[in-house]
């Protein structure tokens, strides 16, 4: 898997400090940004209640062309829909719990 935008920026900063920064490295940031804007991710969250602050009881993240499944609920990145919204711009579908 290639570098993320953040990783490329960090590599450019390091190269700048060492005096080896190239025009191609900077242009690569633009390429990554353009590609990123075309790629869509999908985050499903099931919450216990309909409030966006309600606890998450189920999740599924499809990103960069594949599912990312944490091993257990204790490893889930978000405790609520609100937490997820605060972190990154992804598509969110909130599903209330079953009756």
């Amino acid at each position: 898997m290639g570098r993320s935008i953040q990783q490329q920026v960090e590599a450019c900063v390091e190269a700048f400090r060492q005096g080896s920064l190239t025009e191609a490295s900077l242009m690569r940031i633009g390429e990554l940004a353009e590609g990123s804007s075309k790629r869509q991710s999908l985050l499903y969250l099931q919450s216990k209640r309909t409030s966006i602050t309600s606890a998450v009881i189920g999740m599924s993240l499809f990103k960069d062309g594949q599912f990312h499944d944490p091993t257990g609920a204790e490893d889930w990145p978000y405790g609520s829909v609100a937490e997820a919204m605060a972190e990154q711009p992804v598509f969110l579908i909130q599903r209330m719990s079953f009756l």
Partner: protein, 283 residues
């Protein structure tokens, strides 16, 4: 091929264990089949493509299908002379690392308090999480979910893995949500699946606990099910317990449609001290 037959034996589950089963929708009996039978079963499955031929083997029927601990639990839940659904037995074989199966409940599932059958799984070999044992969502046997609307679910809070040593048998309510877990290593995972059905009307003829009121099925505080509204989970679980006791008509108050939990208890529950009558009097 053996014909369908019935079996009877002593019931082994207690009131509390039956209530637990009503709430969770499954029961795991770890390592109840002797090791020599597990090995023999694995060898048989390696050499025979027709799994149902196992049912012609007395050593298999006597030690697995009629395993004393499993049969005692089945007798508790389905009553006397329960039926073995021969010749139906299937091996859900997995051998390679693979992604988890989609969550599902099996076809023709119905939802309600009636428990007229049990779906059973048997692992003849050690089945650690690396081999992708079945995962179960406790309490999901009361969740109505159309199969085609369940495909986007992947990770639920509260999921239980049935990873277990060889010789483990687990019983489930048929519509419980389940899937094959993610397998991260190669290895032969046999999972034999078969069924039992009821032949008699339900009655409370398992190991009863002295002084236990039926309404205690409503009083329990361990309904920690995230995926449902708590009181719906309580009501459904209690209703299934009442149904199994042959007392289904008593699970709703006579004067209205509320669960008896709210109204019709004359004294404190001996099991937990719950005082429905006193609460009613206080208004």
């Amino acid at each position: 091929m053996r014909e369908m037959r019935t079996h009877d034996c002593e019931a082994t589950l207690t009131d509390s264990e039956v209530m637990d089963f009503c709430r969770e929708g499954y029961l795991v009996l770890e390592a109840v089949v002797p090791e020599e039978i597990n090995k023999r079963t694995c060898e048989f499955l390696l050499q025979n493509e027709r799994t149902e031929q196992l049912l012609e083997e007395d050593w298999f029927v006597d030690n697995v299908i009629l395993n004393a601990q499993a049969a005692g639990a089945v007798r508790s839940l389905l009553g006397s002379n329960f039926k073995l659904t021969m010749p139906f037995i299937f091996n859900h074989l997995a051998q390679e690392p693979m992604e988890p199966q989609a969550w599902h409940r099996d076809g023709s599932s119905h939802y309600g308090p009636e428990l007229d059958s049990l779906q059973v799984f048997y692992y003849p070999q050690d089945t650690p999480v690396e081999l992708g044992p079945t995962e179960v969502l406790p309490g999901s046997h009361f969740l109505f979910g159309g199969f085609s609307h369940m495909d986007h679910y992947r990770n639920f809070k509260g999921v239980v893995s049935t990873a277990a040593p060889a010789g483990s048998i687990f019983l489930t309510v048929y519509p419980v949500w389940h899937r094959r877990g993610k397998a991260t290593s190669a290895g032969r995972r046999n999972l034999l699946k078969y069924w039992y059905t009821r032949t008699v009307a339900p009655q409370r003829d398992w190991v009863t606990e002295p002084g236990l009121e039926l309404a205690h099925a409503y009083h329990r505080t361990d309904f920690n099910i995230d995926h449902r509204e708590t009181h719906r989970a309580m009501d459904d679980t209690a209703e299934m317990f009442y149904w199994l006791c042959g007392e289904h008509e008593k699970c709703r108050a006579w004067s209205n449609n509320l669960p008896v939990y709210y109204y019709e208890s004359s004294e404190s529950c001996l099991q937990c001290g719950h005082e429905a009558a006193a609460r009613k009097a206080r208004g």
